[in-house]
Subunit: 152 residues, 2 copies
Amino acid sequence: MSPSNPTSPAGALSLEQQICYAMHTTVRAFDAVYRELLGEHGLSYPQYIALMTVGEHGPLTVSSLGGHLRLDSGTLSPLLKRMEAAGLVERVRDPEDERRVLVSATAAGHDRLAALGDVPHQIAVRSGLSRREMLDLHRTLRRVTERLDAGA
Amino acid sequence: MSPSNPTSPAGALSLEQQICYAMHTTVRAFDAVYRELLGEHGLSYPQYIALMTVGEHGPLTVSSLGGHLRLDSGTLSPLLKRMEAAGLVERVRDPEDERRVLVSATAAGHDRLAALGDVPHQIAVRSGLSRREMLDLHRTLRRVTERLDAGA
DNA sequence: TACTATCAAATTGCGCACAATCTAATTGTT
DNA sequence: AACAATTAGATTGTGCGCAATTTGATAGTA
Protein backbone atom coordinates (compact mmCIF):
# COMPACT_ATOMS: atom_id res chain seq x y z
CA MET A 1 0.00 0.00 0.00
CA SER A 2 2.69 2.49 1.04
CA PRO A 3 0.11 5.13 1.90
CA SER A 4 2.57 7.57 3.39
CA ASN A 5 4.79 8.89 0.64
CA PRO A 6 3.58 12.29 -0.47
CA THR A 7 6.27 13.23 -2.97
CA SER A 8 7.30 10.33 -5.15
CA PRO A 9 4.81 8.68 -7.47
CA ALA A 10 3.34 5.40 -6.33
CA GLY A 11 3.99 2.26 -8.27
CA ALA A 12 7.25 3.23 -9.90
CA LEU A 13 10.64 4.47 -8.93
CA SER A 14 11.01 8.06 -9.97
CA LEU A 15 12.97 8.85 -13.07
CA GLU A 16 15.83 10.48 -11.23
CA GLN A 17 16.14 7.38 -9.15
CA GLN A 18 16.28 5.24 -12.20
CA ILE A 19 19.04 7.38 -13.68
CA CYS A 20 21.38 6.73 -10.77
CA TYR A 21 20.39 3.12 -10.59
CA ALA A 22 20.98 2.83 -14.33
CA MET A 23 24.42 4.36 -14.00
CA HIS A 24 25.37 1.96 -11.24
CA THR A 25 24.08 -0.90 -13.33
CA THR A 26 25.90 0.18 -16.46
CA VAL A 27 29.15 0.64 -14.58
CA ARG A 28 28.86 -2.86 -13.20
CA ALA A 29 28.11 -4.22 -16.66
CA PHE A 30 31.28 -2.53 -17.93
CA ASP A 31 33.18 -3.91 -14.95
CA ALA A 32 32.03 -7.41 -15.80
CA VAL A 33 33.41 -7.10 -19.33
CA TYR A 34 36.67 -5.67 -18.02
CA ARG A 35 36.89 -8.53 -15.54
CA GLU A 36 36.53 -10.92 -18.43
CA LEU A 37 39.19 -9.17 -20.51
CA LEU A 38 41.61 -8.36 -17.69
CA GLY A 39 41.13 -11.31 -15.37
CA GLU A 40 43.42 -13.67 -17.21
CA HIS A 41 46.08 -10.96 -17.08
CA GLY A 42 45.74 -10.72 -13.32
CA LEU A 43 44.43 -7.16 -13.30
CA SER A 44 41.30 -5.51 -11.98
CA TYR A 45 39.89 -2.47 -13.73
CA PRO A 46 41.19 0.00 -11.13
CA GLN A 47 44.62 -1.61 -11.38
CA TYR A 48 44.48 -1.41 -15.17
CA ILE A 49 43.59 2.28 -15.09
CA ALA A 50 46.31 2.96 -12.56
CA LEU A 51 48.86 1.08 -14.65
CA MET A 52 47.87 2.97 -17.79
CA THR A 53 48.17 6.27 -15.97
CA VAL A 54 51.61 5.70 -14.47
CA GLY A 55 52.71 4.09 -17.74
CA GLU A 56 51.80 7.20 -19.70
CA HIS A 57 52.50 10.00 -17.28
CA GLY A 58 55.80 8.73 -16.02
CA PRO A 59 56.67 8.66 -12.34
CA LEU A 60 53.79 10.05 -10.32
CA THR A 61 53.38 10.62 -6.62
CA VAL A 62 50.53 8.72 -5.00
CA SER A 63 48.56 11.91 -4.57
CA SER A 64 49.00 13.07 -8.17
CA LEU A 65 47.97 9.63 -9.37
CA GLY A 66 45.04 10.00 -7.03
CA GLY A 67 44.31 13.32 -8.67
CA HIS A 68 44.11 11.65 -12.06
CA LEU A 69 41.99 8.78 -10.82
CA ARG A 70 40.05 10.66 -8.16
CA LEU A 71 41.15 8.19 -5.49
CA ASP A 72 42.87 8.74 -2.17
CA SER A 73 45.74 6.95 -0.45
CA GLY A 74 43.31 4.76 1.42
CA THR A 75 42.45 3.13 -1.87
CA LEU A 76 45.72 3.55 -3.73
CA SER A 77 48.23 2.47 -1.10
CA PRO A 78 47.09 -1.15 -0.87
CA LEU A 79 46.33 -1.29 -4.60
CA LEU A 80 49.85 -0.12 -5.47
CA LYS A 81 51.37 -2.50 -2.95
CA ARG A 82 49.64 -5.39 -4.69
CA MET A 83 50.77 -4.18 -8.09
CA GLU A 84 54.31 -3.79 -6.82
CA ALA A 85 54.17 -7.34 -5.47
CA ALA A 86 53.05 -8.41 -8.94
CA GLY A 87 56.08 -6.67 -10.42
CA LEU A 88 54.08 -4.22 -12.52
CA VAL A 89 54.97 -0.96 -10.81
CA GLU A 90 57.85 0.39 -8.81
CA ARG A 91 57.50 2.57 -5.72
CA VAL A 92 60.44 4.73 -4.71
CA ARG A 93 60.70 7.35 -2.00
CA ASP A 94 61.44 10.72 -3.54
CA PRO A 95 64.96 11.66 -2.35
CA GLU A 96 64.07 15.33 -2.58
CA ASP A 97 61.09 14.91 -0.28
CA GLU A 98 61.00 11.76 1.73
CA ARG A 99 57.28 12.10 2.31
CA ARG A 100 56.55 11.44 -1.34
CA VAL A 101 56.50 8.07 -3.07
CA LEU A 102 57.12 8.02 -6.82
CA VAL A 103 55.22 5.36 -8.71
CA SER A 104 56.24 4.20 -12.18
CA ALA A 105 55.55 1.24 -14.45
CA THR A 106 58.23 -1.44 -14.64
CA ALA A 107 59.30 -3.04 -17.92
CA ALA A 108 56.92 -5.88 -17.08
CA GLY A 109 54.21 -3.28 -16.52
CA HIS A 110 54.76 -1.76 -19.94
CA ASP A 111 54.74 -5.24 -21.46
CA ARG A 112 51.45 -5.97 -19.74
CA LEU A 113 49.98 -2.76 -21.12
CA ALA A 114 51.17 -3.67 -24.60
CA ALA A 115 49.54 -7.08 -24.28
CA LEU A 116 46.30 -5.32 -23.38
CA GLY A 117 46.47 -2.88 -26.26
CA ASP A 118 43.33 -4.19 -27.89
CA VAL A 119 41.14 -3.91 -24.80
CA PRO A 120 39.82 -0.40 -25.52
CA HIS A 121 38.69 -1.45 -28.98
CA GLN A 122 36.98 -4.54 -27.61
CA ILE A 123 35.22 -2.46 -24.99
CA ALA A 124 34.06 -0.04 -27.65
CA VAL A 125 32.66 -2.86 -29.78
CA ARG A 126 30.93 -4.51 -26.84
CA SER A 127 29.30 -1.26 -25.77
CA GLY A 128 27.72 -0.83 -29.17
CA LEU A 129 28.22 2.92 -28.99
CA SER A 130 29.11 4.89 -32.08
CA ARG A 131 31.94 7.41 -31.99
CA ARG A 132 29.39 10.20 -31.91
CA GLU A 133 27.42 8.62 -29.06
CA MET A 134 30.60 8.09 -27.07
CA LEU A 135 31.52 11.73 -27.47
CA ASP A 136 28.05 12.84 -26.40
CA LEU A 137 27.99 10.50 -23.43
CA HIS A 138 31.44 11.55 -22.39
CA ARG A 139 30.51 15.21 -22.54
CA THR A 140 27.33 14.66 -20.55
CA LEU A 141 29.16 12.66 -17.88
CA ARG A 142 31.84 15.30 -17.50
CA ARG A 143 29.27 18.03 -17.16
CA VAL A 144 27.20 16.14 -14.59
CA THR A 145 30.27 15.29 -12.54
CA GLU A 146 31.38 18.90 -12.56
CA ARG A 147 27.91 19.98 -11.53
CA LEU A 148 27.70 17.45 -8.72
CA ASP A 149 31.15 18.38 -7.47
CA ALA A 150 30.16 22.02 -7.33
CA GLY A 151 28.00 21.14 -4.34
CA ALA A 152 24.63 22.43 -3.26
CA MET B 1 58.69 6.58 -23.36
CA SER B 2 56.29 3.65 -23.68
CA PRO B 3 57.67 2.59 -27.07
CA SER B 4 55.81 -0.67 -27.17
CA ASN B 5 52.11 0.05 -27.47
CA PRO B 6 51.00 -0.45 -31.06
CA THR B 7 47.26 0.04 -30.74
CA SER B 8 46.34 2.87 -28.42
CA PRO B 9 47.40 6.42 -29.13
CA ALA B 10 50.38 7.72 -27.24
CA GLY B 11 50.01 10.59 -24.85
CA ALA B 12 46.36 10.14 -24.00
CA LEU B 13 44.08 7.49 -22.64
CA SER B 14 41.82 6.26 -25.38
CA LEU B 15 38.30 7.57 -25.56
CA GLU B 16 36.79 4.21 -24.69
CA GLN B 17 38.92 4.16 -21.60
CA GLN B 18 37.93 7.66 -20.70
CA ILE B 19 34.25 6.79 -21.07
CA CYS B 20 34.46 4.04 -18.53
CA TYR B 21 36.63 6.10 -16.26
CA ALA B 22 34.16 8.97 -16.60
CA MET B 23 31.27 6.70 -15.71
CA HIS B 24 33.06 5.46 -12.62
CA THR B 25 33.82 9.03 -11.65
CA THR B 26 30.28 10.23 -12.20
CA VAL B 27 28.84 7.36 -10.21
CA ARG B 28 31.13 8.22 -7.34
CA ALA B 29 30.15 11.86 -7.57
CA PHE B 30 26.49 10.80 -7.33
CA ASP B 31 27.36 8.54 -4.43
CA ALA B 32 28.97 11.43 -2.60
CA VAL B 33 25.77 13.48 -2.91
CA TYR B 34 23.67 10.53 -1.79
CA ARG B 35 26.00 10.04 1.16
CA GLU B 36 25.42 13.64 2.08
CA LEU B 37 21.64 13.35 1.77
CA LEU B 38 21.24 9.87 3.25
CA GLY B 39 24.02 9.82 5.81
CA GLU B 40 22.11 11.60 8.53
CA HIS B 41 19.30 9.11 8.02
CA GLY B 42 21.68 6.23 8.53
CA LEU B 43 21.37 4.84 5.03
CA SER B 44 23.82 4.12 2.24
CA TYR B 45 22.70 4.40 -1.37
CA PRO B 46 22.41 0.63 -1.86
CA GLN B 47 20.38 0.40 1.33
CA TYR B 48 18.17 3.26 0.16
CA ILE B 49 17.53 1.60 -3.18
CA ALA B 50 16.80 -1.71 -1.49
CA LEU B 51 14.41 -0.05 0.95
CA MET B 52 12.58 1.73 -1.87
CA THR B 53 12.22 -1.51 -3.77
CA VAL B 54 10.85 -3.61 -0.94
CA GLY B 55 8.71 -0.66 0.15
CA GLU B 56 7.10 -0.44 -3.25
CA HIS B 57 6.98 -4.02 -4.39
CA GLY B 58 5.81 -5.55 -1.19
CA PRO B 59 7.39 -8.66 0.30
CA LEU B 60 10.14 -9.88 -1.98
CA THR B 61 12.42 -12.86 -1.76
CA VAL B 62 16.10 -12.07 -1.58
CA SER B 63 16.63 -13.35 -5.10
CA SER B 64 13.77 -11.36 -6.61
CA LEU B 65 15.03 -8.25 -4.86
CA GLY B 66 18.41 -9.15 -6.32
CA GLY B 67 16.75 -9.35 -9.71
CA HIS B 68 15.48 -5.79 -9.34
CA LEU B 69 18.80 -4.46 -8.08
CA ARG B 70 21.06 -6.78 -10.04
CA LEU B 71 22.74 -7.96 -6.86
CA ASP B 72 23.25 -11.45 -5.45
CA SER B 73 22.84 -12.88 -1.97
CA GLY B 74 26.52 -12.31 -1.26
CA THR B 75 25.80 -8.60 -1.32
CA LEU B 76 22.20 -8.57 -0.15
CA SER B 77 22.33 -10.95 2.80
CA PRO B 78 24.62 -8.82 4.96
CA LEU B 79 23.01 -5.59 3.72
CA LEU B 80 19.55 -6.83 4.70
CA LYS B 81 20.81 -8.07 8.04
CA ARG B 82 22.09 -4.58 8.81
CA MET B 83 18.82 -3.02 7.72
CA GLU B 84 16.88 -5.50 9.82
CA ALA B 85 19.07 -4.63 12.80
CA ALA B 86 18.21 -0.98 12.11
CA GLY B 87 14.52 -1.88 12.20
CA LEU B 88 13.82 -0.82 8.63
CA VAL B 89 13.03 -4.16 7.05
CA GLU B 90 11.65 -7.46 8.21
CA ARG B 91 12.94 -10.85 7.08
CA VAL B 92 10.63 -13.84 7.40
CA ARG B 93 11.09 -17.39 6.22
CA ASP B 94 8.41 -18.23 3.69
CA PRO B 95 6.25 -20.91 5.36
CA GLU B 96 5.39 -22.34 1.96
CA ASP B 97 9.03 -22.80 1.05
CA GLU B 98 11.47 -22.66 3.88
CA ARG B 99 14.33 -21.93 1.53
CA ARG B 100 12.96 -18.50 0.77
CA VAL B 101 13.21 -15.40 2.90
CA LEU B 102 10.57 -12.74 2.40
CA VAL B 103 11.77 -9.17 2.87
CA SER B 104 9.43 -6.29 3.50
CA ALA B 105 9.63 -2.74 4.82
CA THR B 106 8.56 -2.17 8.41
CA ALA B 107 6.44 0.80 9.45
CA ALA B 108 9.67 2.51 10.44
CA GLY B 109 11.03 1.71 6.98
CA HIS B 110 8.04 3.34 5.30
CA ASP B 111 8.42 6.35 7.57
CA ARG B 112 12.06 6.61 6.64
CA LEU B 113 11.15 6.51 2.95
CA ALA B 114 8.57 9.23 3.48
CA ALA B 115 11.17 11.37 5.23
CA LEU B 116 13.42 10.92 2.21
CA GLY B 117 10.72 11.76 -0.30
CA ASP B 118 12.51 14.87 -1.54
CA VAL B 119 15.82 13.14 -2.25
CA PRO B 120 15.10 12.30 -5.90
CA HIS B 121 14.25 15.91 -6.64
CA GLN B 122 17.38 17.17 -4.90
CA ILE B 123 19.50 14.72 -6.85
CA ALA B 124 17.91 15.90 -10.08
CA VAL B 125 18.63 19.52 -9.25
CA ARG B 126 22.20 18.81 -8.24
CA SER B 127 22.89 16.91 -11.45
CA GLY B 128 21.95 19.91 -13.52
CA LEU B 129 20.36 17.69 -16.14
CA SER B 130 17.26 18.79 -17.96
CA ARG B 131 14.32 16.43 -18.28
CA ARG B 132 15.25 15.83 -21.90
CA GLU B 133 18.91 15.12 -21.08
CA MET B 134 17.89 12.71 -18.34
CA LEU B 135 15.69 10.83 -20.74
CA ASP B 136 18.45 10.65 -23.34
CA LEU B 137 21.04 9.57 -20.81
CA HIS B 138 18.74 6.99 -19.34
CA ARG B 139 17.98 5.55 -22.76
CA THR B 140 21.65 5.41 -23.67
CA LEU B 141 22.58 3.72 -20.41
CA ARG B 142 19.87 1.11 -20.78
CA ARG B 143 20.95 0.35 -24.32
CA VAL B 144 24.62 0.06 -23.42
CA THR B 145 23.88 -2.18 -20.46
CA GLU B 146 21.73 -4.43 -22.59
CA ARG B 147 24.46 -4.57 -25.21
CA LEU B 148 27.17 -5.37 -22.67
CA ASP B 149 25.03 -8.05 -21.04
CA ALA B 150 24.51 -9.72 -24.39
CA GLY B 151 28.15 -10.81 -24.24
CA ALA B 152 30.76 -11.16 -26.93
C1' DT C 1 11.41 -44.84 0.15
C1' DA C 2 15.93 -43.64 -0.77
C1' DC C 3 19.00 -41.07 -3.71
C1' DT C 4 20.16 -37.43 -6.58
C1' DA C 5 19.63 -32.98 -8.41
C1' DT C 6 18.26 -28.46 -7.92
C1' DC C 7 17.39 -24.31 -5.63
C1' DA C 8 17.55 -20.29 -1.94
C1' DA C 9 20.09 -18.06 1.14
C1' DA C 10 24.07 -17.52 3.85
C1' DT C 11 28.96 -17.51 4.38
C1' DT C 12 33.93 -16.85 3.18
C1' DG C 13 37.50 -14.52 0.90
C1' DC C 14 39.27 -10.83 -1.87
C1' DG C 15 39.47 -6.19 -3.71
C1' DC C 16 37.62 -1.45 -4.16
C1' DA C 17 36.06 3.05 -1.95
C1' DC C 18 35.78 6.26 1.75
C1' DA C 19 36.14 8.32 6.47
C1' DA C 20 39.07 8.85 10.18
C1' DT C 21 43.32 8.35 12.34
C1' DC C 22 48.34 7.85 12.63
C1' DT C 23 53.27 8.46 11.43
C1' DA C 24 56.91 10.77 9.54
C1' DA C 25 58.86 14.55 6.89
C1' DT C 26 58.75 19.32 5.67
C1' DT C 27 57.63 24.14 6.19
C1' DG C 28 56.70 28.26 8.72
C1' DT C 29 57.08 31.17 12.63
C1' DT C 30 58.98 33.18 16.42
C1' DA D 1 67.17 26.52 17.29
C1' DA D 2 62.59 25.19 18.88
C1' DC D 3 57.93 24.46 18.14
C1' DA D 4 53.46 24.52 15.81
C1' DA D 5 51.20 23.72 11.39
C1' DT D 6 51.03 21.47 7.21
C1' DT D 7 51.74 17.76 3.99
C1' DA D 8 52.27 12.78 2.05
C1' DG D 9 51.38 8.16 2.75
C1' DA D 10 50.01 4.40 5.28
C1' DT D 11 46.72 2.21 8.33
C1' DT D 12 42.20 0.92 10.39
C1' DG D 13 37.40 0.13 10.16
C1' DT D 14 33.08 -0.26 7.59
C1' DG D 15 30.32 -1.29 3.65
C1' DC D 16 29.66 -2.69 -1.24
C1' DG D 17 30.29 -6.18 -5.03
C1' DC D 18 31.54 -10.60 -6.87
C1' DA D 19 33.24 -15.50 -7.08
C1' DA D 20 33.09 -19.70 -4.86
C1' DT D 21 31.57 -22.66 -1.40
C1' DT D 22 28.34 -24.30 2.17
C1' DT D 23 23.94 -25.38 4.40
C1' DG D 24 19.43 -26.56 4.28
C1' DA D 25 14.98 -27.29 1.84
C1' DT D 26 12.42 -28.86 -2.12
C1' DA D 27 11.72 -31.56 -6.34
C1' DG D 28 12.49 -35.34 -9.22
C1' DT D 29 13.44 -40.10 -10.03
C1' DA D 30 14.82 -44.92 -9.65
